[in-house]
């Protein structure tokens, strides 16, 4: 897992470098491998605020697209949302892609829900995919959603198993339903291991204030509070604010759990040894698989749920900090979830 | 100090200076020669081109024609920095000092390179102060200084920067007679040390008493250069305006028995204990002008603002025609019949960037013809502005011109006209002719006399003692917020008033 991740981030870097020097025609990233098959598919990717290079959600989507572009020789173009833009700007972004012949068009993030729902019916021949949203439904819309609660369940279990104090914590970036899924899974997993476990929970900000996803200082303060209170493993679902958690963990000699990507690989050298594991949300996998299907000639529509079974979520073992017993136990839970013996609620 | 006096080159020589703006000739063939070691006065009406000329000499503006020579060498001054480098310094009418800094800090500000900001600078300041008898203590806060002291600091600032020629723009306008004498003492000191002093003034008596040479300007050009011992003030005035100078002479008394204004125990407490206005009581009768004399900063402006209701902390009773207005707001007091010509017309009297007709509305927002219901009546206001322009001889192309575009005198005439509209009972005139030219001054004097004749009560505050004596029916002297003496203008001299104002001499 980690090897492929490293490979893909390197590929992403390479490709984004190409994209920066893209030609005047705006054709963007062609696969740089001359032998690769040439596909006539043009992918349009509409990012949320931050775009490519946010080291988080958008980057994961970019990674999936880059992989598909390279493998299938697709053409791609991308555009990112501006902070504080009106709803019409998101719609317009999708329309511009559609008018310019891009098909399929991938919208990254639930902020595009309304825009996709509105634009898709106007372009019945264009295929849309939206990540993290099931609100926009249509014959030409694929809803790529994740079972974050399942992955969080596993790291919750890991936290409980590795905690010496029987005391763990959860830091959410912004209290929105999406992040509450992480919390619900984490709590369920920890309590499955140890019904008496003490769990600290906090959200950095409330919607519509989304600064909680990008405020390491707040993240650090919250984490320090939890460690001071006796927690020794803290999980975050707070995007960029997670950096604060890692610092606090490194300074106090406690464990942190990363989210979305394998943060051991991405985090600064000085703090990575405090990252016990990361809950993986494989947006790249979802994007890649969607594009692979498109390449194959089928256009998926409706909800596609990326769960443990589909390898849409999971956990990382980089750093080898998890004990073998813990991993065994996690794998056990994983089987039980896949088989349906354990159902993880998505709501706290 | 003697090296330059041995040379024969004049300190400043201006030859054929011309400066024109489109349609206006500000300076035309100006020729002046200022000898080193002399005080050279330049007199002329406002608009005669004095300030343009000084701006040219101080590097603010460049002449279109003619040459500037300093100490015999032709120079090209394109900024004040050039002028300072050439040894020319200027003391402006409005002091440019930071109140919350010390004298030392003010002096070195912007000239830190000369002697640093520490002990060397202090030494240099003390040296200059001693050399020219300026009596300056470098560590005093400027806010603690009186007007005369501040002026000396300004002069020292200029000397500190190495000036050998000093321009003073109407330096006596803000001083009382005693301070004027001190200033002249300083100037003579400067002169004896070999500096050249260029002295701009309206006040011909002062010019005649201090200047060695007087140059008269009229309509942008130098009309004559005279020896002060060979002319008198009237002759000079005639040179300036080309006609006889008016004087603020009292006419027969119009004072009646009827008390229109009575102020009782008006007090304005101040945070540091001593009241700024201290238990002031007076009355003004119908048709009477009450003059208030005092050194600036002795509570005159606070007294006026308290009567206007601008200072909510003031206590005491103000009655206008028998009606107690003490509890009323400024607006209601104006409506009750108080007209107000403020001392600082730019700060308190005008909206400089608004057209004249809007300035006509100012202070009359609630009354006809300016207002109609909740709306401003632009048509009527403009019409009434036209009336004021006509009746008060405001020189302007029309009521839509911005107030800023008018000369000081015309701005002031507009204010007088405005404040006389709306049938006032009391007219407060604070320094009504400060900084206006001779023509406007005479007109404003006439208007004040008219007000008196019309049966208004007039409260006149002025630093110009001739004006006070000439216009007032009674004069009260204010010192440290208290009224300390009453004088009959028929029998008092400026010197006696000056003594009372400074608390020196005998109280009347």
């Amino acid at each position: 897992m980690t090897k492929t991740a490293a490979f893909f981030s390197a590929a992403a870097l390479l490709l984004s470098a190409c994209g920066g020097n893209g030609g005047d025609t705006g054709n963007g990233n062609n696969g740089n491998d001359g032998e690769a098959a040439q596909s006539d598919i043009k992918v349009g990717m509409a990012y949320d605020v931050g775009g490519r290079g946010d080291q988080s959600f958008n980057d994961a989507a970019a990674k999936g697209m880059d992989q598909a572009v390279e493998e299938f020789g697709m053409e791609s173009q991308e555009s990112e949302a501006a902070d504080g833009e009106p709803e019409s700007a998101r719609e317009e972004r999708l329309r511009t892609f559609a008018d310019a012949g891009y098909n399929p068009i991938i919208a990254v993030g639930f902020a595009y829900s309304g825009a996709v729902a509105k634009v898709a019916p106007d372009y019945p021949d264009v295929h849309f995919a939206i990540i993290d949203d099931e609100g926009a439904q249509g014959d030409n819309i694929a809803n790529l959603v994740f079972a974050e609660e399942q992955g969080s369940f596993l790291v919750g279990a890991a936290a409980a198993l590795e905690s010496k104090n029987g005391h763990v914590g959860f830091i959410g970036g912004v209290e929105v339903p999406l992040i509450q899924k992480f919390e619900a899974g984490f709590v369920a997993g920890a309590e499955e291991v140890n019904p008496d476990i003490k769990i600290e929970k906090t959200y950095l900000t409330q919607a519509p204030d989304f600064s909680g996803f990008n405020d390491p200082a707040k993240g650090k303060t919250a984490a320090q509070g939890m460690f001071d209170a006796g927690a020794d493993v803290v999980y975050h679902a707070a995007g960029g604010s997670g950096g604060g958690l890692f610092e606090a963990a490194a300074e106090s000699g406690n464990w942190a759990i990363g989210v979305d990507s394998d943060q051991y690989e991405l985090a600064d050298e000085s703090v990575r040894d405090s990252i016990l594991t990361s809950m993986l949300k494989n947006v790249d996998v979802a994007v890649y698989e969607f594009l692979a299907e498109v390449e194959g000639g089928t256009f998926p529509s409706g909800s596609v749920r990326y769960d443990l079974e589909a390898d849409g979520v999971g956990y990382s073992t980089s750093g080898d900090f998890l004990s073998q017993e813990t991993i065994d136990k996690m794998e056990e839970y994983k089987e039980q979830i896949i088989s349906g013996d354990i159902t993880v609620s998505a709501e706290p | 100090m003697t090296d330059t006096s041995t040379t024969t080159a004049p300190a400043v020589r201006l030859v054929g200076i011309g400066k024109r703006f489109p349609g206006v000739i500000a300076n035309d063939d100006v020729n002046i020669e200022v000898a080193r070691g002399s005080i050279h006065a330049i007199v002329g009406e406002n608009g005669a081109g004095k300030s343009t000329l000084m701006k040219i000499l101080y590097g603010v503006q460049k002449p279109d024609a003619g040459t500037v020579e300093i100490d015999g060498a032709q120079v090209d001054l394109s900024s004040p920095a050039d002028a300072i480098k050439a040894g020319v310094g200027m003391v402006f009418q409005h002091f440019m000092l930071a109140d919350n800094l010390t004298v030392l800090e003010n002096v070195v500000l912007g000239a830190e390179r000369l002697h640093g900001i520490g002990a060397k600078a202090r030494e240099e300041i003390l040296r200059i102060s001693d050399a020219y008898g300026l009596d300056i203590r470098p560590d005093q806060l400027v806010e603690a200084l009186g007007v005369g002291d501040r002026q000396r600091v300004e002069i020292l600032k200029v000397l500190y920067r190495g000036a050998r020629t000093i321009i003073l723009d109407e330096p006596t306008a803000v001083l009382v007679p005693q301070e004027v004498d001190e200033l002249f003492g300083n100037l003579r000191e400067l002169k004896s040390e070999g500096l050249a002093v260029i002295f701009i003034s309206h006040k011909l008596d002062e010019v005649l008493s201090v200047a060695d040479v007087v140059t008269v300007m009229r309509r942008g050009t130098t009309v004559d250069t005279v020896d002060p011992s060979s002319v008198n003030a009237h002759q000079l005035a005639e040179l300036m305006v080309g006609s006889e100078l008016p004087s603020p002479s009292t006419e027969s008394s119009t004072v009646t028995d009827e008390v229109l204004i009575s102020v009782n125990h008006l007090t304005l407490p101040s945070p540091d204990g001593r009241p700024l206005v201290d238990d002031v009581s007076f009355t003004i009768h119908r048709g009477e002008v009450l003059g208030i004399a005092g050194v600036e900063g002795n509570g005159q402006s606070e007294l006026v603002e308290a009567i206007m209701g601008m200072l909510p902390r003031a206590t005491g009773v103000v009655e206008v025609d028998g009606r107690d207005v003490s509890g009323l707001s400024t607006r209601h007091r104006r409506e009750a019949g108080i007209g107000y010509i403020p001392a600082d017309r730019h700060r308190h009297g005008l909206l400089l960037d608004a057209p004249l007709w809007e300035n006509r509305v100012l202070g009359h927002q609630t009354r006809t013809p300016a207002a109609k219901g909740i709306f401003i009546d632009k048509g009527a206001s403009r019409a009434d502005t036209e009336r004021i322009i006509e009746e008060y001889d405001v020189r302007t192309p029309g009521p839509d011109v911005l107030a800023r575009a008018l000369s000081g005198g015309n701005q002031q005439k507009l204010i007088v006209g405005r404040e006389m509209s709306g049938d006032p009972i009391l007219l407060i005139a604070a320094h009504p002719t400060r900084g206006v030219d001779v023509g406007a001054q005479a007109a404003i004097w006439d208007h004040i006399k008219d007000a008196r004749r019309l049966g208004l009560a007039v409260l006149l505050i002025s630093a110009d003692l001739d004006e006070l004596i000439g216009l007032s029916d009674r004069i009260q002297v204010i010192l440290r917020g208290r009224l300390v003496g009453e004088f009959d203008p028929g029998h008092v001299t400026p010197e006696q008033l000056g003594s009372a104002m400074t608390g020196a001499g005998d109280k009347a």
Binding site: G23, A207, F210 | G23, H348, A371, P397
Partner: protein
Amino acid sequence: MTPRMTRVLLSVAAPVLALVAAFAITSAVLLVAGDPAGEVWATILSWPEPRNLVNIVNSATVLYLSGLAVAVGFRMNLFNIGVDGQYRIAAFVAAVVAGEAWLPGPLNAVLAILAAILVGAAWAGIAGLLRATRGVSEVISTIMLNFISTSIVAYSLRQVAVREEGSNIIGTKPIPESSRIPGFSISSEVSTDVYGFLLIAVLAGVGYWVALNRTRFGFDLRATGQSQTAAVASGVNVKKMTVTAMLVSGGLAGLVGLPILFGNAYSYGSTFQSGLGFAGIAIALLGRNHPIGIALGALLFAFLDEQSNPLQILVDVSPDIVKITQGIIVLTVVISYEVVRRYGQRLEQRQVAQALESSDNTKAEVRA
């Protein structure tokens, strides 16, 4: 030329000067970065499609209200930096009120609009009161109130939020169909309507102009802005004016989010547009606090925003370039207004002097 005509010409000269400068500087940035300046401008300056026109007008409507709100303060030398917080808390309250639908149909919308105005005014009024009674700079207090507003809205949204099935967006209860403000369609091929709120924005602009330029209140407000000391001497109660001006500014700010609320979003949720208050500051500066100037400024900003959207897709240039242009426009506008103002002042002084000289000459002739 009459002084009035000169003034109009000069006031047009300033923004034109600023725009030219801004476009030149932006082009220089593009060239230095090696981006195709020609194509960028061709994209931005192309005539918009009908649906883009609708978007431009709609965005401009919102920006216009924001600009007006800021301009009221500017006319009195008050810097209401808090329009951002005011419109968000007001839009939230309006969304809750309209979502609850206590009154039927259009009455519900009216009630919600009034609520927004009141809340916006009250929120700004806090800063006004602090300034009037305690001398707290409204710049500081409105910035702080922005933060507080953000937090209050976030906190309250969680209390009242409903979640659409399958969506990760949370928001207030949607406004019932009957209380939405219908838009008008400009063409059958465009699915988006022009906000019906446009009319209210136009009315607000007219009201702003009349109130400021024709009423005693407006005179007092402008007088205070031009010279507080002169206003005091003329009998204006400056403290009262400060509070009133902030109330008016905040009331207008309360309207800012409503076109979106009633014409598009129908609820206040996690994706409600942010940052409109700050755009309003730039637009008020650009429009010189004049209702028509602000309208032009709002249209310009909306136009640039809309036209820059496809830049990345079509020309491979980040639309952020337009943010640079907008920023430069604001800077150059401030500078060019000052330059033109000084020029105009000198011009007028000369004209006055000229007029007087000629009249003096005639007088002299008469005397002779």
